[in-house]
Symmetry: C2
Subunit: 309 residues, 2 copies
C-alpha cells in the first residue's frame, strides 16, 4: 500500500498507539513514526519494540513537521496536550484522537487548534484489557469499526485520507454525529464496563465468600466480568466523567429492568424470566452474524495466531 502520511506523531504510547504503529508498518502506510510518552521507560520500550522511529520527551517535539497527529492519551488529558501542541502544528496537518468519548474531546481539543489544520475526532472500537506499549499488536483493528465524527465544514480530502489509513489498518470505517456516538457507546461499552466493575467490587467486598473462593471458583460469567474490570482505570474514569449524561441515562434504564427481573425472581415468575432470557439470546446471534464476534465457545481462549510479540 502507498504511504498515506510521511510523518505520523503518536501522542501517548499505550495499547491503541502501539497497535496503530504495528498496523501502519505492516501495511506501509506511514513514513516516519514519531512518538511521545510521559515516562522515559515507555519511550525506551517503544524504541526497543520498533514502535517508533523517534521518541520525544515532549509532545511538541513529536508533532513538529507531522502530517498526522494522533492523540492517544486519556480523554481527561487531551485538552492540555492540544493547547501545548497547537502553535507547533504543521499547516495542512490532520489531528485526530482515539478517545472513547467524542463530544467532550471536541469541546476540549477543538478550541485550541488553528484553522490551518483539519481536526477529525475518531474512535477505534477495539481493545483488550491490557494496556501499555507492550500490549499492542498489528491485527487489533482488523474487522473492527473505526468511527469518525468530523465536524461540519471539515476538508473532505483530509477525511478521505484518514479513512484510507483506518481501512489500511484493517478497520471498517463509519462516520456519525458525536452526540449519537456517545449514546451508542454508552449502551454498548461504557455502561457494561461500569456494571462489570461494580460486580467485581461486590464480590471482593463479601466477607463470607473469601477472596480466594471467589477467585478459585470463578465461573464463566464472573471471569468475563473480571476481564472487563481489569481495563485501564484512568481511561475509564475519564470516560465516565466525560460521557456523564448518556451513561446516567442508560444506567437508569438498566436499574429499572434489573428491578423488574429481581421482582420476577422474588415472586417466582418463571415465564417472565424465560421469555427475557430467550429474547437476549437472539441478540447474540445477531452479533455473530454481523461478524463482530466468533461463535467459538467461551472457553480455552488462546491468543490470536497473528498477534505480534
Amino acid at each position: 500500500m502507498a504511504v498515506l502520511y510521511e510523518k505520523v506523531a503518536l501522542i501517548g504510547l499505550g495499547l491503541i498507539a502501539s497497535s496503530m504503529a504495528h498496523a501502519m508498518r505492516a501495511a506501509g502506510l506511514a513514513g516516519h513514526i514519531a512518538g511521545h510518552a510521559k515516562t522515559m521507560q515507555t519511550r525506551q520500550t517503544a524504541l526497543e519494540l520498533g514502535i517508533c522511529d523517534s521518541v520525544h520527551d515532549s509532545a511538541v517535539g513529536a508533532v513538529i513537521d507531522a502530517d498526522l497527529v494522533v492523540l492517544c492519551v486519556p480523554v481527561g488529558a487531551m485538552e492540555v496536550v492540544a493547547a501545548e501542541i497547537a502553535p507547533h502544528l504543521k499547516p495542512g496537518a490532520t489531528v485526530t484522537d482515539v478517545g472513547s468519548v467524542k463530544q467532550a474531546v471536541i469541546a476540549a481539543v477543538g478550541p485550541h487548534l488553528p484553522q490551518s489544520v483539519a481536526f477529525i475526532p475518531g474512535h477505534p472500537i477495539a481493545g483488550t484489557e491490557h494496556s501499555g506499549p507492550r500490549s499492542g499488536f498489528a491485527s487489533l483493528f482488523r474487522n473492527r469499526w473505526w468511527l469518525l465524527t468530523p465536524l461540519p465544514g471539515t476538508d473532505p480530502a483530509a477525511v478521505s485520507r484518514l479513512r484510507a489509513l483506518c481501512a489500511g489498518m484493517g478497520a471498517n470505517v463509519d462516520e456519525m454525529d458525536a452526540a449519537h456516538h456517545d449514546l451508542v457507546l454508552a449502551v454498548t461499552s461504557h455502561t457494561p464496563h461500569l456494571i462489570a466493575y461494580t460486580m467485581v467490587g461486590v464480590a471482593d467486598d463479601l466477607g463470607r465468600v473469601t477472596d480466594s473462593e471467589v477467585i478459585k471458583y470463578s465461573a464463566a460469567g464472573f471471569r468475563d466480568f473480571t476481564r472487563i474490570a481489569a481495563s485501564d482505570p484512568t481511561m475509564w474514569r475519564d470516560v465516565f466523567l466525560t460521557n456523564k449524561d448518556a451513561t446516567l441515562e442508560i444506567l437508569g434504564r438498566f436499574t429499572e429492568e434489573l428491578f423488574a427481573l429481581q421482582r420476577a425472581i422474588r415472586t417466582g415468575d418463571g415465564d417472565h424470566l424465560h421469555a427475557y432470557f430467550t429474547r437476549t439470546r437472539a441478540i447474540r446471534r445477531g452479533i455473530i452474524e454481523a461478524g463482530q464476534d466468533t461463535d467459538a465457545p467461551d472457553f480455552g481462549r488462546t491468543p490470536p495466531p497473528n498477534r505480534l510479540a
Copy 2:
C-alpha cells in the same frame, strides 16, 4: 486409566452430559454409556456422535443396571426424573447431578431416592454459552473445579470413586456444604448472568439506538455480556428460581454499590472511580494467577485446539 463405572447413565444429553461422555471415553473411565433425552432428534444425534452406546426414550430405560446415574437436566426438572427412576435404581449405585444450585436439588431429589443408593450432588464449574449434544467436547472440565456437596453419612468409598471420575476427566475436585456452594455461586456466576441478561435487554429496548447499531458497534464489554446472555434460558430460569435467597442478597449489594458509583459519576468524583477501578483490576490478576483464566487478550478468540467436533 481403569474403568471406574461399568455402566453410566446420562439423563439429559446437553452440553455437560455430552462433554462428560467425550471426556470419560477419552480417559477410558466408563464401560457402557447409556443416555436418555426427551426428543428423538437429540437421542439420534447422541448416537451419531458416539456420545452414547445406547439411547433410551425413558429415563428408566437408561438407569437399569447403571453403576452411576448422572442427572443432567435443568434443576427444575430433576424432581420428576428422580421420582421416576427411583424404583429402578441398582442397589449400590451412585446418583449424582450437575445442577448449578445444590440446596434445591437436594430437597427435590433426595427424598425420592432409596437408602440403597449413594446420592452425591455435584456441580462442574465449566460451560460455554452453547447448548445441546453437539456442543460438548472432551476438554471442557480440564483444570476447572468440580464441586461435590455430599450429605453427612454418605459412603466415603462412593464419594471417593466419584471424585476419581471427575479428576479423570481433568477437573479439580472439592467438597463443600450445599448452602455455602449456593452463596459462592450466586456471587461468581448467578448474579453476573442476571446482570448480563439485563444489560443486553436494555440495549435491545432502546429505540434511539437501533438494533443494528448496537450489534454493529458492540464493543468488548457488551460483546462479552451478549455471550453470557446467550446461555440456555431454561437452565437459567431454574437457577434463579431455585437459588432465590442468595441471588437476591447479592443483587441487593450490587445495587447499593452501583448507586455509589453512579453518584460518583453524577458528582464528578474522579478519585472514587479511579480507586474503585484500580481495586477491581487486582482481582483479575488473582484469577490469572489461580489458573482460572489465561492472560491472553480478549480478542480474536479461536476455538480451543483440543476441541472435539
